[in-house]
Structures are given as C-alpha cells and as structure tokens.
Symmetry: D2
Subunit: 187 residues, 4 copies
C-alpha cells in the first residue's frame, strides 16, 4: 500500500482580522478527510521571517523540511490590491529547490465577488519559477465576509463540492508528480 | 520498449517575414534528434481558421487529432506588443479537452534582448486554463534578427545547450504526465 | 466651448453567436448619451485583416485614422480560455503610434460569474506597451448568457450605474491626457 | 513659475547585500539633477511594518504623507522568483487613496540579463488597482552584479541615457496628471 501524500496548506496572510482563516480551516478539514493524504497548516504569521532581509537567507529548517517532504501544496491567498499578500511572497521566497516538481492548488479569497481570481493569475509566474505545477482547478471564495457565520462555520454548502473537485485534481497531480520524481529518470 | 513521445511544435505566427521560422526550424531539428520523440511542425499560417468566427467552432480534424495524440507541445511564440500573437491564440482556442494533462514548453522570440520573456508570462494563464502544464524551462531567443545568417543558420551555438536543457525537462514532464494519464486513477 | 472627446468602442470578438454584441450595444448607447463625447463602434469582424500576416503591415487607413483621432477607447473583451480573443489582439497590433497617450477602459465579458476579470489582467501589459493608459475602473459583465433577454435588452439595471462610473473615469482621463498631448511639452 | 514636481523613489527590497541599492542611488542622483523635480528615497527596510499584520492598518504618517504629496513615483524593484519582493508589496499596501491619479515608473533589477522584465509585468495589475498610471518606459537593470564597481559606481554609461528617457516620460505624465487633478473636474 502506498504511503500517504503529504499536502500542507499555507495560510497566506498575517492580516489582523483575516477572513482567510475561516477558508483555511474549512479547506484543511476537507483535506484531512482524505484517507490517503496527510496535511498540516503553515501559517505565514507563525514563520520566523524578518523585515530587514529576504529570500533563502531567512530559511527556516522546519518550513524548509515541510516543503522538501511535501508532494503538493494548498495556498490560501487573499487578494490585496489585485496582487498577492506581501508576506505570502516573503514566505514563499524562503525556500527554493524544495518546491521542484510538486503540485500546487490555489484557493483565492476576496471581499468582492470574484474570489481572488486576480491573485491567482498573479501567482502563476511565481509558482512556475519555483518549479511548482499549478493545477487548473481553483476554488474562489468570494464575498468572504458573509460566507461564514460568526463562529466560522461555512454558510454555502456548494463549497464542499467545489473543494472536493479541487482536491481530486490536486491529489491526482501530486501522485503523478511523485511517481515521476521517484521513478522516471531525467531525459 | 516504450512507444515514442509525440511532441509537435507550433509555429505561433503568420507574419510575413517572420524570424520565428528560423527559431522553429532549429528547435524542430533538435527535437528530431531525440531518439524517443516523434515531432512535426504545426504552422498557424497553414491552419484552416476564419476571420469571422473563433473557438471550437473552427475545430480542424487534423489539428485536433495532433493535439489529442500529443504528449507534449513546443510553442514558438514571438512577442508582439508585450503579448502573444493574435493568430496563435486564435489557433489555440480551436481545441479544448485535447490539451488536458499534457506538457508544454515555450520558446519566446523577440527583436529585442529579452527573448520574449513577457509573451511567456502572458501565455501562462492561457496554458493553465487549457489544462496544459507549462514547464519551468524556457528558451529565450533574443535579438532574433541577428541570431541567424541569411540562410537561416544559427550563429550562437550556446542555444544548442539551452534547447537541450529545455527538451530534457519537457520530455521528462511529458513522460510523467503520460504515465499519469494512462496509469493513475482520478482521485 | 471644448470640442467633444472622440471615444470609439472596439467590439473585440468575431465569434459567431457572440454575446458581447449585446454588451457592446448597451455600452455604446450609454456612451452616446454623453453630451461631450462622440463615439462609434469598431467591430473586429469588419476589419480588413488577414490570416497570413500580422502587425502594422495590415494597417487599415480607416481604422488607423480612428485611433489616431481618438482621445480614448472602450474595449469590449470576452474572456476566452483566461486570455484575450486572438482576433482582438490581431486587430490591436495593426496600429502602433496612434495609441500613444490615449485613455482606455475595458469591459470584460464572460459566461461565468467573474465578468472577464482575467482577460482584463491579461490585456494590461499590451495596453501599456501600446502607450495606452488603462483606467482603474472596469465593468465586468458576468453570466452574460442570462444578462440580456432574447431581444438583447439588459435585464440587470445595476449596470447603468456601473457603466456610468466607468465612463466618468474614462472621460476624465481622456480629457486629462488630451490636455497633456496638446499643451504640455515633453520633459 | 510652477512649483516642482515631487517624485520620491521607493527602494523595493530589504534583502541583505541588495544590489538594488546601487541602482536606487544612481536613479536617485539622476532624478535630483532635474531642476523641476524634488525627490527623496523611501527605503522599505526603514518603514515601520509588522510581520503580524498587513494593509492600511500599518499606515505610517510619514510614508502616507509622502505618497499623498507626490506627483509621481519611481519604484526600484528587483525580481525574486519572477515576482515582486514581498516587502515591497507589504509596503505598497500600507496606503490606498494616496496613490490615485499619480504617475509611476518602474526600474526592474535582476541578476540575469532581462533586467526585471517579469517583475514589471507582475506589478502592472497592482499599480493599476492602486490608481497609479504606469508609464510605458521602463529601465531594465540586468546582470546587476557586474553593472557597478565595488564602490557602487555605474560601469555602463548607456544607462544615463536610458534613465533620462524614462525620467522624461515620467515627468511628463506626472505633470499631466497633476494638471488633471487640480484643474479638470470629474466627468
């Protein structure tokens, strides 16, 4: 029997009052339900970053090890001014070769109706340069301010199905790339 | 023994006097040298497109069959006004499901020194939505007007090595995804 | 009294059955209501383009004259596979210096709920390279298939206000840039 | 006589050993030479940002006042993994309405030969959403590691002319937009 896939979820904002935390919790719980997947939350607010440096010089052994070990990644990314959160990029740049030939799926989040469609487009060149393969299923959490009740419970159950479809594709791609990394020689 | 990978090359411009033709010929010849790869040129100038329609309604059986059968694609894309050529996009939109879970590598071309770096960025969202996986190796053919002699022979031999590295990655990804399509069940 | 601003509208698709035609008609009618604006529709389906060439070599005197004379542009752009329609780009590339220091506003159109948010992002580098200034108001016509009745009449009146806000910004920027072109010397 | 334009320069990285500091110093000095321009350096390393928050909640009176007062901005942006530095975005998100209808020009920086061409493309949607107008002249500082000597003096004098052309366009646009903000009523 195959060992489980390791697919951590990066909560991509440290903003006070972040609504993306509700999104991250929900997607994390759905991921935990998958028998063949191991997951954990990597919160950019908890990472040992600095304000007077950037890049691999800030490499954190624990974060780097999680990325090194992972088969795929879920990024929960709110859209700030049509771009990605600065601290999400600051965090992603801490690692480099650890990302190569892993799968990534992006959950966009926004206060408006488009569910972070633009932040996802903005992340594509970065994901590619890191060596990640961005799947072509996204989940767009729009109008996030009214999508959860005051206790953080999801109010629109259609997202269960959407996240399911997203995880199906992510798990498939993570498994395909793991097979490739482990069994298919470089050309 | 495995059957060869089928990796056609799309020459992505119909412009009169197109310099990208030299690039396409060179990359095509390098691809032909690979023992395990079958290739052919798909020239957007030769495709049966229309000026009063768009999309899958223009589907061409031969082009669609090539994409359906392929394991990977090479796109030779000149940069026009920091974007992709209109006719390249017009051609790509003729197919849809045929692209899913195939690999693609992009050779950017420009008159200036950056070798189409911007057209590659611009193509990323389109490639992803088509279901293609864009590899993270590109070849940037900059200053294309002086890169070939009047008979179309390459003047800078460093491109042999660059295309080799590009093909290595593309072939690896094409093989990995083919294994996935044929052997790994949807999650 | 100032002469009117000339702000033509480009209908950016030639696809049979194009829903963007309804959008274009509605936005055109709203633009016509502005006392200080002269407008006309430029339909990419009507432009004398070719399938075996590209760029300024296809320059059309009438289209070029309209762009040369214009103070601003409205582009109605449906989103095809997360990118711009090929024929829209094919058309835009027919002109070059005619665009410089004019204003442009984009109306995105899509079958899905995001109203072409992605095609707008994709057009930004192209607009900039052409010398156009893209305003920061867009109109997003989402779920276009149900936004108009069978006679092409708009069913959601909130778009009247949205287009108004968009035109306010576009007219302001067109006027500002015209003053600049005519009165402010190059530094 | 007109009051001078205020065009501060944002040094967009806090990375230790940052080569962009040489670029910023050179561009700053060239800007200072303009009789009609007042400038200053805003260093993201010196801004009072936090690692556990984001956005306007971190608003700094001095930074906000500089943006509020400015007519244009120069951003020196190194390219990290084909995207913008996290701390540059973290800084830009501290302000909001202060940016509206101001001009911005971007100097891209990279270790490789393309001079940050990709980070510039990535910044375009963000600049637009902030209300800034990105000019269509860039300066691309490629191979930055060998572009300055060990004392930080520029080794390639062609950049004097390039920055001059860039400043000409930026100053023109800053002046045009200032006239618009002060004299042209909203439509």
């Amino acid at each position: 029997m195959e060992r489980p896939l390791f697919i951590p979820l990066i909560l991509g904002t440290a903003r006070q009052g972040r609504q993306s935390e509700n999104v991250a919790r929900f997607v994390f719980e759905q991921t935990q339900k998958r028998a063949d997947v191991e997951t954990e939350v990597i919160d950019v607010r908890e990472l040992p970053m600095k304000l007077d440096d950037a890049g691999e010089q800030m490499k954190d052994p624990k974060f780097a090890a999680a990325i090194e070990r992972c088969d795929g990644l879920i990024i929960v990314a709110p859209e700030y001014n049509h771009g990605y959160p600065g601290l999400l990029k600051h965090a992603l740049d801490m690692n480099l070769k650890e990302y190569i030939h892993k799968a990534v799926g992006i959950c966009g989040v926004s206060a408006g109706p488009f569910g972070g469609a633009r932040v996802i487009e903005g992340l594509l060149p970065v994901m590619r340069e890191l060596g990640l393969v961005t799947i072509f299923e996204d989940v767009n959490f729009g109008k996030v301010g009214t999508l959860f009740d005051e206790r953080g419970r999801l109010l629109d159950q259609s997202y269960v199905r959407r996240v399911d479809k997203f995880l199906n594709e992510l798990i498939w791609m993570a498994r395909v790339l793991r097979h490739g990394r482990e069994n298919i020689a470089s050309a």
